[in-house]
Symmetry: C2
């Protein structure tokens, strides 16, 4: 098994571009498939949702909403250890996300011209947490906690039903901890369709957030064409590790393998200035993977991953910025010194004691992050994702009089006479002339 | 002429929903048209761009880029008055947008767990400013000034060529004031395609921002399917005015007409608690519109606009939030008191001396704002639009040890053994055991 390895100096810019290209998102065929699902859900509501659930998931779901008794039962099923871990994760996520608001700070731009911004919650948000065989209570917290801090008044959570039609107890306990009571056993494109158009059981939402398969992401794109906001299009998870000669090979290998076990399409990239680190990590990958329950995924993912020998840390970080990884781990002697070289990444982990798994679960940062190179232009989910920022302005009569010549000149320039007169009528009627 | 008028209490929730619904965005046919354009531009670069420019705009553009001499000539053509107005607008826009950054503030979430966010500019952005017959230097400032404050290293501006192949002098002067030197005479879907895929002359960008026609917005949607970020999909401009009995009818009428003159598809909505204000404003609309150069647009727009009599200001503001206007003007005795009732709007103007035209041009706030009800989930363009916010974390050995039980429990819960081991391998090798 093993990653392909390259020397950075042997790679042409085009080849670097190829190595840094992940799955393209555009797929109008998948959009057409989603359109049929959206149209059916719009026309026939819950009935259509249930049909698609049976068709795609093979599960009968006579009742789509999760009942209070199911929450109560889940609370009894989940161990106290697990519940405690979820609560601590929630507390840390809450602490960090609470720091992200904007304050109402009024700025006097010129005398008599006061401008400011205030944030308002997006009233209703829909969260999607993938499932089926996997159980992802951590994603419930990552999406739900900032929604509550923001003050969203309606929070809807869709989770695919398990074969018996239930939702995993851990997911329900996490939902309860995050303060979400509106949980629906719906997955796939039909879940996104239901939250976009609304049904008898599912509220129509203003924004949809969360990871998921290609069909789920295509459905989110279609929702965005219909005017429902989305967080971003999420692809397979990925990590890029930059390591110097002081890195501990076992730590690096464990980080690459933890990423690789997510799925066959995950990518784990290692960039190092040290040949011996590359060799040692490479030789550790097999033993680190061997007895994992998900070794098949990990081995497949590592097959399509790669390592790069870089002549300097500047070059290594430059490559990392071109790749723009979802997760960037800096196994460096003095990682703080290199923070300023990081231009594009979803979330960054500094030094030997900051494994990605800390941010995946419980350090407080969000794990819903831009993939596939979108970190060049997108931020991960944060409190911002649940807020609008509205600008306000109040001019005094003096403020408007002072600004009037500028406004009138620009209105003339753009040949918008009605704009100019909206100023003039005020000057004519004002108390100062 | 005139707006339809309604009494809020006579309107059913469904009817209110209809009144608040604007143009739907989804149009897969337009997307297919754009796809052909994108594919041609991807295959044949500048040549295809020039062909589409000739096909759609009837203009020959042998040279796509604007040369330094054209800037110099523009500088001589534009009056000192106009240049001064543009510079003052730029100064105010800069002042307000400079207040919008995030500071690097490190938070200790638990002892030994430090998390923070830092912002980084999106490296390359593409700005689209509509034109052809209209001349919109103000939009150049609104899109360009925050790009420069953010520190974007490449800023590309596309403007449709005029019939003689030139770009308006005012637009070039505004570009120069905003610090943009890379201006291209390209409009329509071919401009968006060129910035999305890149050509010999046009740099490929990470994000595209700006208003434009339906075809331009569809092209932006397609660009977003191809992984290029966009600001949002912009529809026709709109204003909603809330007026109480203290409002000055002439001011209100001038604000409605200023909005209506943008285009036949603009919408101007008046909501008032005062029947006499509704009557007086209604009777002023004709005279306010009569001798405007763009009276045809204004009259058409007002035909499809409407007014609503609301029983209370609470109700009026509730209706405004349901409509979620791009611009909200509060012609109220004590507008500050009603700010907290505003949930959904792009930008808000308080009191008689704050006409929308102040924010359109020069008070400092941005005029690129969410339309068509998107203000429920989108913010206007701000410094944020040009930045990514990256999360960072650094744990100490003690920090990781203290968090380890939580991390290991959650990894077990999600059956990600490789995640658990990334913690374990560190505890085993740490210096504290």
């Amino acid at each position: 098994m093993g990653m392909k390895s390259y020397r950075l100096h042997d790679l042409s810019p085009d080849r670097i571009g190829e190595l840094c290209t992940r799955n393209p998102i555009e797929d109008l065929t998948l959009l057409e498939t989603c359109r049929a699902i959206f149209d059916a859900v719009e026309a026939r509501g819950d009935e259509a949702v249930r049909e698609y659930t049976f068709h795609f998931d093979g599960v009968q779901t006579p009742v789509l909403g999760v009942a209070p008794e199911e929450f109560a039962e889940a609370g009894m099923q989940v161990s106290e250890d697990s519940a405690r871990a979820l609560r601590r994760a929630e507390a840390n996520i809450r602490t960090f996300h609470q720091t992200q608001g904007i304050s109402r700070e009024v700025h006097e731009i010129e005398p008599g011209i006061r401008c400011w911004r205030e944030s308002r919650p997006i009233a209703s948000v829909g969260l999607y947490v993938p499932g089926g065989t996997a159980v992802l209570p951590s994603t419930v917290l990552m999406l739900g906690v900032p929604a509550r801090i923001a003050g969203c008044s309606e929070v809807t959570l869709c989770v695919p039903p398990r074969p018996d039609g239930s939702v995993a107890a851990e997911v329900l306990v996490a939902a309860e901890i995050a303060g979400i009571s509106d949980v629906l056993r719906i997955g796939g494109a039909q879940a996104i369709a239901a939250m976009c158009v609304g049904t008898e059981t599912v509220s129509r939402v203003d924004k949809i957030l969360g990871p998921g398969s290609r069909i789920v992401q295509s459905a989110k794109l279609l929702a965005s064409l219909r005017g429902t906001a989305i967080d971003m299009v999420a692809g397979p998870s990925e990590v890029l590790v930059v390591a110097d000669e002081t890195a501990v090979p076992e730590f690096v290998a464990s980080d690459l393998v933890a990423q690789a076990e997510h799925g066959s399409d995950s990518q784990a990239v290692l960039v190092s200035t040290s040949e011996s680190i590359l060799t040692e990590v490479g030789s550790l990958l097999e033993s680190t993977t061997r007895d994992l329950p998900r070794r098949r995924f990990a081995a497949d993912a590592l097959e399509q991953s790669f390592s790069v020998l870089a002549p300097s840390l500047e070059d290594a970080l430059r490559f990392a910025n071109t790749y723009a990884p979802e997760h960037l781990i800096l196994h460096l002697q003095d990682p703080q010194q290199w923070v300023r070289n990081v231009d594009s990444a979803g979330s960054v982990f500094l030094g030997p004691w900051s494994p990605e798994v800390a941010g995946d679960y419980a350090s407080g940062t969000n794990h819903t992050l831009p993939t596939s190179g979108l970190a060049k232009s997108f931020s991960g989910v944060s409190l911002d994702s649940y807020l609008k920022k509205i600008t306000f302005q109040e001019l005094s009569e003096e403020g408007l009089r002072a600004l009037a010549p500028t406004l009138e000149t620009l209105a003339k320039l753009e040949e918008l006479e009605g704009h100019r007169r909206a100023v003039e009528v005020r000057l004519d009627r004002g108390s100062m002339e």
